[in-house]
């Protein structure tokens, strides 16, 4: 009995080690590759310094970070009041909002970008030619992830009682949402924001095909001449995304870890 349990443990450990090798080796290889000195041999941190020294790359990083911030803000402004409203006053719209939010899972980014030309003619007309206009499409891209996170947080509180209490004490809708509901769904807002940031920083499809230079587009462009710098920047985005989600899983301890909240987006459409 004991020996069979031990064998099971060893077997599981061995399997885990194999998976770890497959998944961690390429990451190690990136670290190794990006610090290699191709000309003189030995090690150099030049590729990593290029993250701030290379003008084009540095500007792209700033653009992507700004896009991440704007997307999070626009997503929250659009989604939080709407989701609260359909729960409180317009339950007939709830299915519709859910359907629309999860729709980007079925309509690939590649398809959106193909059909986007006419819309963007107008966007450019109103807002000018700037990579930051990608905020609008990116907000659509993050909808499924954000919806799931916020939905989970809203399901965990007694929204109706909270809102009625606030309203009966004389609070208007703005006060009710901002000062009563939002503090109670903080974990959901945080996870929606973190996941959105990770999505935006990793986005390539739409930016590249509509001709804007965000971080990933520049990484690919640089990769044609300077491999190590591209590999360094790629590893940096992966590590940054990993840290975001790991922090998230620690912050939302006991509720829904970061992985699960993304899982719920894809896997558990019917679950609260």
């Amino acid at each position: 009995m004991i020996s069979s349990r031990l064998r099971g443990r060893i077997g599981r450990g061995l399997l885990l080690a194999l998976f770890a090798a497959f998944f961690l080796f390429p990451l190690y290889a990136m670290a190794d590759f990006s610090t290699r000195n191709l000309i003189q041999g030995g090690r150099t941190l030049q590729a990593w310094m290029n993250l701030v020294q290379n003008e084009m790359l540095y500007r792209a990083i700033i653009v992507s970070l700004l896009l991440a911030v704007f997307t999070v803000v626009l997503m929250l402004v659009l989604l939080v009041p709407t989701m609260i409203w359909v729960r409180l006053r317009a339950p007939w719209g709830r299915r519709l909002v859910e359907f629309l939010c999860l729709l980007p899972l079925t309509i690939p980014a590649l398809v959106i970008v193909v059909g986007l030309r006419n819309v963007y003619l107008w966007v450019v007309y109103f807002f000018g030619e700037s990579a930051l206009t990608l905020t609008f499409v990116y907000t659509v891209l993050v909808l499924p992830f954000a919806y799931r996170s916020l939905d989970a947080a809203l399901s965990a509180i007694d929204l109706k009682t909270l809102a009625e209490a606030a309203r009966s004490l004389g609070a208007g809708w703005t006060t009710t949402i901002l000062r009563v509901v939002v503090p109670n769904i903080w974990s959901g807002i945080l996870s929606a924001a973190f996941i959105s940031i990770a999505v935006v920083l990793g986005e390539y499809t739409i930016a590249s095909l509509s001709g804007y230079q965000n971080l990933q587009v520049v990484i690919v462009a640089i990769g044609k001449t300077d491999g190590p710098t591209s590999v360094a920047a790629s590893l940096a985005t992966l590590v940054f995304g990993f840290m975001l989600l790991l922090v998230l899983s620690l912050v939302t301890r006991g509720r829904r870890p970061g992985g699960a909240s993304i899982a719920s987006t894809a896997a558990q459409k019917g679950r609260p």
Partner: protein, 303 residues
Amino acid sequence: MAPAKRLRGPMSPAKRLRGPMSPAKRLREALPLVPFLVFVGIFLIIPTVTVIVSAFYRDGQFSLQRLGLLFSGTALAALWKSVVLSATTAGIGAVFGAVLSWLVVNSSPTSPLRRVVLSLCSVLAQFGGVALAFAFLATIGLNGVLTIWVRERFGFDLAGAGWLYSLRGLILVYTYFQIPLMVIVFTPALEGLRAEWREAAVSLGASRWQYWREVGFPLLTPAFLGSALLLFANAFAAYATAAALVSQGSPIVPLLIRAALTSEVVLGQSGFAYALALEMVVVVALVMIAYNLLVRRTSRWLQ
């Protein structure tokens, strides 16, 4: 599901307002939804409708010419390769991903191992894109770390003939995000298997293997197949990794869309991108519908 039901309960606003509900009231209820609906309408619905309509219309005339291009040799070859790539990586991803999530579920929900694995899986599955292409270039590309190591040790060229840029290379790189995606979507189903069920089976005299064969596997089958379908759709629609890896040629549908978008004039087939995008929507939508049907079966006992 539960909150939705609660909202429709006897005290729900919908019920209270039903009956003598004035149009003004209805309008006031709907008004706060307008910004969201308009936004989604402009940036999601209009592009999608544009794709569908433009695939059927040419210069304002109904025409099947663009759809006809889908049956050209190039398009069919790309579709076939896309299907092979998606099916292969969905199969590999589903099997290995299920094993990995079984390993993860065996650890406690708050263990660091689980947090790290799930966070890493989320990053690789959802946000990797371009970075994954570079990860493999750094590993088994022409000057990759593993390539050099193997060359020095065994005198064997891993990067031989640039296979990393071919379909086989794409299959390898895609498994790097398909396995993690499987872990993320399949772990909740595995967690849904209750310990009581195994205890019940064991107390009735079942062996470990019997429990899995008679109880575990049959319960997990719909979730497993559903997840595999999701992986298929995911690979079929993935663009960034392939685009960063393969800069010339367009072996698969997403890359053919890129070619059609960026060099329409050269191809002399304007609107080809619309037809290809429609093809992609149809494939992904069909797969997702099947996925939803399977998931609905699972969610019955998962709750």
